[in-house]
Symmetry: C2
Subunit: 405 residues, 2 copies
């Protein structure tokens, strides 16, 4: 080994921290543990049977071409179909606005890569998806967290922050938002809030990165228009993915964004992996085109809806007074706020002993706050386990509130 | 759009140039053009029939799990099987030495990402694979090119460069080599040269990044031991891939490297795409395990062997005196050196008019030299077309030599 390996690692490598969630997930791998910790879709939601037929047909009809390299921008027919789905919902975009990425995680990474220099400011929700924060921080981003209310990122506090930064001569590189069923809170921004944030992006001349992994998983309430559509002025770049509505094991995401930005992302993607696997893109195209996609999505939504309902009912039944939680209209997560003096990390270690797990909310706070919060996933665990697991967590919280009171 | 989008792009984005080869390939997409330009495996070499059965069995036996997220390090059974294949060839390594990447292009990108700070020196062959150079330069690497002789990178010139750098107080981050059937030259380093370069890596305390995409595609001559095996002292990190021996459209590569380095790469990969698609990894495992892998690889080798032979025979027949070319014992490329006064780029434009294409060699020279060189791919074009195409190129070269003489 070279003598000073540690010293040889780059600034980016030193910025890149092992995900706190991964460490938590390791502790929860014991199958006896009822885990609300991960962010996994329910395997019951995967279209196993449909895929076998699709692959057989594909190999017969297309043969070798599905095994070859393809364009860095993505497989043309898949891009066209995804675009059409947006256009059918009113989006104004053409094919150069839509490129495929290797999961939306790659989208986040490439957005960080093409925009962030060491020390640049990026704005995010307080709390916000850890994988986004991590990807941006790797490139040296200083994250500025904006507290959220029940309508998502606070526009008032965002404006105050943008104004402060402006006074200091700092222009943030972009505002990172997850408008629908936010990870970790489950909160959805109403259109009014989206418009306020877009107006601020215009006023302060800043891009918005709109991350939409859960958008299509809505159980109830009115769909809100994407910020991309509300803006329609090249201030918004939107990330989409099949991971929560088809299969995460395909690692297919996409970016719907300004052409000039996409062009830079494609060049960066060329260095990153040349192209997303042709094989899974071609399958995904056939799957979407078959109609099974929409049927299966509906089944997925129904499943998660019912799991959320069970979870909320159990929490209503067992949680002590003083504990608050969100009521997401879709997605995969809800968020608990404990009384301020209760430490979620201490609770976590006791929970593991009781064979139940969650993620402490603080990992999603770029400023290290949120030590009294908890994220619960409701997509993965079946109802029976959820009932047992929520009771266990509620009992632990009760005990902790007594001790710490 | 924000007012100064150009100014908003990062240093990395500005370092990241659109691949010159991509631009060339665009000019060659006309199906009438006989193109030796790309680096595509022959579609005839892809195991289309075997895969259909494998996917059917897999879906029946494993179902939903092949569609779920998996570990960032890669699917365990695939890592184990790849490791075993190395161990069977004498490699001393264990499971933590081997991680999966999304193609070996991702391996190159992540190696750049974890080691290269702006201005760091990276050493490569003169010429060398463009996708490697590009990935390293994106992170700010200053490439130092070492001329090659018929045994690959010159150890004498490498030592001189390392000594010069040492005098300046500069320690390069790593030496990038492609020891087997190098891209673009087709040259293979004999064991003696490999050992010389390893000794220099030890003497000057520098890592070696050994890129092995073509290693298994050997037609003749003795297999040379990997530098990883010859070193066996954590100075070498080796990149492998299925792209040339199975299917590039799966985007599966791997890194065989020191554990401390792999650990950093896994953290970086987590930000980059969470994991390589589970679906293709699980198929690749079954394919390798089925035995079809080795049978099909033999067929691929035979096909390329025969195509190389045809190409060499035609060149022998038609090329004018003063033109030299390599005689690769494997891989996918051979390299032509024209008389110094002949400009390959001018030749290229004339070639396109005559409906034949190649890549000018200069794009592989990090110092912009090599303007009288040409890379020819022999894996993709069938024999009939190769015969016509080589004749056309030879005629063009003859004409050019007359004009420029």
């Amino acid at each position: 080994m070279i003598s000073d390996l540690k010293g040889a690692f780059s600034r980016i490598s030193n910025n890149n921290k092992r995900s706190a969630i991964r460490e938590i997930l390791k502790l929860t791998q014991n199958p006896e543990i009822i885990s609300f910790a991960g962010g996994l879709p329910a395997p019951e939601s995967f279209p196993v049977d449909a895929l076998d037929t699709i692959v057989t047909d594909m190999m017969r009809e297309e043969g070798a071409s599905v095994l070859q390299y393809d364009a860095t921008e993505g497989v043309k027919e898949l891009r066209e179909l995804l675009l059409k789905r947006y256009q059918d919902q009113g989006t104004q975009a053409d094919i150069d606005n839509l490129i495929i990425t290797t999961g939306s995680q790659q989208g986040l990474d490439l957005v960080g890569k093409i925009f962030v220099n060491d020390g640049d400011v990026v704005i995010c929700g307080l709390p916000s998806y850890l994988g986004g924060i991590g990807a941006f921080k790797a490139y040296g981003a200083k994250m500025a967290g904006i507290p959220m209310d029940e309508q998502g990122m606070s526009a008032t506090l965002l404006e105050a922050k943008l104004e402060d930064l402006k006074q200091e001569g700092i222009k943030p590189k972009f505002i990172y938002v997850i408008p629908d069923f936010q990870n970790p809170t489950g909160i959805t921004m109403p259109e009014s809030r989206r418009l306020e944030i877009i107006a601020l992006a215009h006023k302060y001349d800043v891009l918005i990165v709109e991350d939409c992994p859960y958008r299509d998983v809505r159980f109830e309430g009115e769909p809100q228009r994407m910020m991309y559509d509300l803006d329609n002025d090249n201030h918004v770049l939107t990330l989409g993915t099949f991971s929560k509505i088809f299969a995460p094991g395909f690692r297919i995401g996409w970016i719907l964004g300004p052409k000039d930005v996409n062009e830079k992302i494609v060049i960066a993607k060329q260095s990153a992996d040349l192209c997303t696997p042709t094989f899974v893109q071609k399958i995904a195209y056939r799957y979407m085109n078959s109609g099974v996609f929409e049927t299966n999505l509906k089944k997925t939504i129904d499943l998660y809806h019912q799991r959320r309902d069970v979870m909320l009912a159990e929490m209503e039944k067992h949680m002590p007074e003083g504990v608050k939680w969100t009521h997401p209209e879709g997605g995969m997560f809800l968020f608990i706020t404990l009384p301020e003096h209760v430490n979620a990390l201490e609770l976590f270690h006791k929970a593991i002993e009781k064979k139940v797990a969650f993620v402490t909310g603080d990992v999603f706070y770029c400023d290290g706050s949120g030590t009294n919060t908890i994220r619960l996933n409701f997509s993965y665990v079946n109802n029976e386990k959820a009932i047992t697991g929520i009771k266990r967590i509620a009992d632990l919280i009760k005990a902790e509130m007594l001790v710490e009171a």
